[in-house]
């Protein structure tokens, strides 16, 4: 069931039909912008559903990349939520962000497959792994050292030292958003390192 809405400037008196979903999501967004955590969670969950469906279609050859990109897009939505203009359709805003992240992702994918490491062709030449080296590899602190500071520090404070996000934010001087994003990305990077 659609509802009519008067068009904005430039459209004059042309009524613009907008779906219930768009209006509901927009309402959630405006609440979230004001700090409503529950509305925000609901919004993100609904957007995740829509993004997952869209990206599964757009990334047909690479289903394993879909969830990563969904999360990437959610984080971009979170970081840039202040750029939403309320008189514009929310889904147009979301889709533009999703598309931007997708293009970035495809571009970097093209770059890394082009940078083919020649050593991979000759595994013997990579050198033997000693037991100590293996232990060191699994040492969490050593792993953390391999991360850039903006991932390592949030993880260090929130996971190893048990600080809350707010406390970690104060200690590092980063915003709480940056801490959350850093923890999430840091965990992913660590997971990739121990694979």
């Amino acid at each position: 069931m659609a509802r009519e809405r008067k068009g904005q400037e430039g459209g004059g008196d042309t009524p613009r039909v907008e779906s219930d979903r768009e209006l509901a999501l927009r309402a959630l967004m405006l609440l979230a912008v004001g700090g409503d955590e529950k509305a925000y969670g609901q919004l993100l969950r609904e957007l995740t559903r829509l993004l997952r469906r869209r990206l599964s279609f757009q990334l047909q050859g690479h289903p394993d990349e879909v969830e990563d990109l969904v999360q990437d897009t959610l984080m971009a939505i979170h970081t840039h939520r202040h750029t939403y203009q309320p008189d514009l359709p929310l889904m147009a805003w979301v889709n533009a962000i999703a598309r931007h992240r997708l293009i970035d992702h495809l571009r970097s994918r093209r770059r890394t497959t082009a940078l083919h490491d020649p050593l991979d062709d000759f595994p013997d030449l990579a050198g033997p792994r000693s037991d100590e080296a293996e232990e060191a590899r699994l040492d969490v602190e050593a792993l953390l050292q391999q991360l850039p500071a903006h991932h390592r520090l949030p993880l260090l404070h929130t996971r190893l030292r048990g600080l809350s996000v707010a406390e970690a934010s104060k200690v590092t001087g980063q915003s709480e958003s940056a801490i959350k994003v850093g923890v999430h990305r840091g965990l992913k990077a660590l997971a990739a390192l121990v694979k």
Partner: protein, 216 residues
């Protein structure tokens, strides 16, 4: 990564959610431009000098045209750039409205040319300061451009080149208006060509730098 981690992420992002101000970019732009305009005006008056006959010509309509034409262009460019700073936004009517002040100015210039005897027409076009006008306007516009782009970087545009062009026109328009404090020329053809050239250069600079400046 499984769907369970996405749920974790959502929970994390929602927890301790900070409210954000939606009109922040506009406020930053207004503040930055004001400061930069004061700076450029100080430069214009300090280095170039206020035009001597300013008080005498206050009742001449052309003086006000010299301010209204570039300022109206700047205003339209402002609306265009701010709107496009949001991802997924379309330019709306602001893209084609850019042509309005330009068209009016062109019409004024044509009227001016046709109502002048042929031998005096070149004088209308070249004036006395054609060789410094464009350069001065561009120089005065640079601090404005920096201030504009700094504010616009708060956005997340998917049309960086167009936003850059808008930023260029905005700063060029305000710069041209500020230059009017000094510039002695009053002929519409002169303004159309030499102000126009400065605006074009600023727009091109914005278009060229846009993709790099507004990355996210």
């Amino acid at each position: 990564m499984t769907s369970r981690t996405t749920e974790d992420l959502i929970r994390q992002l929602a927890e301790g959610l900070q409210p954000v101000r939606l009109g922040g970019l506009t406020l930053a732009l207004r503040r930055n431009l004001l400061l930069a305009a004061l700076f450029s005006a100080a430069l214009a008056v300090g280095l170039l000098g206020l035009r001597q006959d300013l008080l005498q010509v206050l009742d001449e309509p052309m003086l006000w045209v010299k301010w209204l034409y570039p300022l109206s262009l700047a205003l339209i460019a402002w609306r265009l750039a701010v709107r496009l700073a949001s991802p997924g936004a379309d330019p709306g009517p602001w893209a084609w409205r850019i042509a309005l002040p330009l068209t009016l100015m062109a019409a004024l210039a044509l009227v001016s040319l046709f109502s002048t005897p042929t031998e005096s027409r070149a004088g209308l076009l070249w004036g006395q300061t054609w060789d410094v006008c464009t350069v001065n306007i561009v120089l005065l516009s640079l601090p404005l451009f920096a201030a504009t782009c700094r504010a616009l970087r708060q956005g997340a545009t998917v049309r960086p080149r167009l936003v850059g062009t808008g930023a260029g026109l905005l700063s060029g328009g305000v710069g041209a208006a500020i230059y009017g404090l000094h510039c002695p020329e009053m002929a519409a053809p002169f303004l159309l060509v030499w102000n126009g050239l400065a605006l074009l250069l600023m727009a091109l600079m914005g278009a060229a730098l846009g993709p790099r400046l507004f990355r996210w």
